[in-house]
Amino acid sequence: MGIVTRGLALFCAVLGVAAVTSAQTVDFAVSGNSTIRGWTCEVSGTAEVTAGGGAAAAGFSSGVQGVTLTVPVAEFTCPNEEMTEHLMEAMRPDEFGEITFQMDGYEVTSNGATATGSLTILETTETVAVPMTLTESGTGAAIEGEVRLDMTDYGVEPPTVMLGMLRVRPQITIEFGGIVAP
């Protein structure tokens, strides 16, 4: 089996298996910089997969129709309480409780896939392409990837503290990873 075929089969298999099970947990790490130092905050979200047509890998029954990632904003944790508070002020979880990614389609790549879909943060929805690697794992398949964003594109105002002497840079990187298992 060629590597592209194998990648497609694996991707579809992973998502196809997940479609017949409950939502899977995916861990997210959001990193960025500021005028003080680099930072990383973390949160766990869910991946819901809808089975569909398309090629299926050996041993799996279907391909994939859709994927929805959901991140509960209020559950972000940063290295200290002060940073978490600033993040919450920027993300307003009382008004916008979730960050969501709705997959519209995907392309198979040499080591995984690039999913294209709608990312919604606060009130703004933008189309993004999310490259990810897929690796066979003993208990399912490991997915890993990252996407870089400018938070101001989504109407998120980067936190500033102490009269602007501490300014968070708007550019952030979102890394995600988890095991999608039957």
């Binding site: 003080i36 290295p79 200290n80």
Partner: protein, 474 residues
Amino acid sequence: MTRRGLDRPLGAQGASRRQLFKLLAASPFLGLAAAGLPASWQRALANEAERRAVAPAATCAKCGVEMPLATSRQEYPGLGQAPEAQPPDAIDGQFNGQLIESVDDAINVWDFERVCHANNLPQHWDYLHLGVDDFETRWANREGFTRRIIRPRRLGPSANNPDLSTELYGQQFESPLFLCPVAANEGYHTEGEAGAARAAGTHGILQMQSHSSSQSYDEIMEARGEPHWFQLYTVPDFNVNQRVIDRVESAGCPVLVWTVDLIGGSNRELVRRTLQGDGYEGALCQNCHNHQPGYQRPMRAGLEGPAGERYPYDWDYVKRLRDITQMKLVLKGIVTAEEAELAVDAGADGIFVSNHGGRAESSGWASIDSLPEVVQAVRGRVPVFIDSGVRRGTDIFKALALGADAVGIGRPYVWGLGGFGEDGVSKVIDLLHDELRIAMRQTRTAAIDQITSRMVMEGKNPIMMRESRMGFGL
């Protein structure tokens, strides 16, 4: 993905006085308020306003960082009339540094220097960057490496996939490269030493934790998944030293690295200059560093107990340390043959050739220049380590050729950490490994133990190509 949040009471706030003045100088209300300010504030504001007027700068479209447009043409009048401000081209980036936006953009470790500088508190950057006096020893460290010449071999045994694996005290590592002890990693990224530990662990290389680390031995060990080495700064009360030694030994630390190169103190002018004004005791610094009463760095906390003897720092001290621990004992900061001989005779299990990255004394003596005489004195009885000025895979190669068993980096991995956390450290390690492999292929050395002194010779003059204004590029 193995990142984790660190529940450390750091606080994120800190600021420079200069940044405050920059902020105020940019304010449209400055004119209204300036007359009521103290004279010293008015002078500082005037300086910042002048800088704003003359400094060519542009804002990175993607990362939002303001970066100076100091191209070589602008800085060196002899190269011609300064053109209109324009983004640096590739040759500027290569020799003057550039602000990368992702670890994927990094071509060499220098690419992390500027991004770390841009994204960290000036006082923290200055602490990392400093040398003593006029930075002579920092310069010498780089010149020592660039003065040495690698003698390639064009044909011969295959070295297509060089084996970097290295054994130290019976433990296997993926390469002779290691991460040196550097204090307070959380000052550069919230991931701190744990972020560096995850990167080092993933690559299978050694990490030495600083006694002045932001995180405890246990936290760092958990991040790596196995014990690492610990660097000790002794204090006069020997019982305090014994308590910290007992703590790391009981946690599983196999090797204790005792730093002996700062016992006489060092003239760190950049720190004194950056802390002018309110100084370290001022409200801004204390807001982060001491916002919890009685806070101490983790490896200095909880060591209270009955006072002990206050022994002089002589060669018997090595024996005293030797007697209270089963860990291997490495002396860090030995740079002469006679002291290497004495150290081994006193029971040291390893010699670490180091001038503390040019932060100890202004000897102007490169660590790589010290290495041959130390290796000669040690005569293979114990491993020899080296750091200070290592920035390239070829530097690692040269140090190995001159007899080092392992080669450490300090600032470069902290640049990576400060720019991008664990991913930055990981990329720094990858880059140096890649460069080392190229050097090994070009000398037809398939394994570390095939790198010999015949592959390096001394040139007449150092070759310093990099832009080094403000000390960048050292």
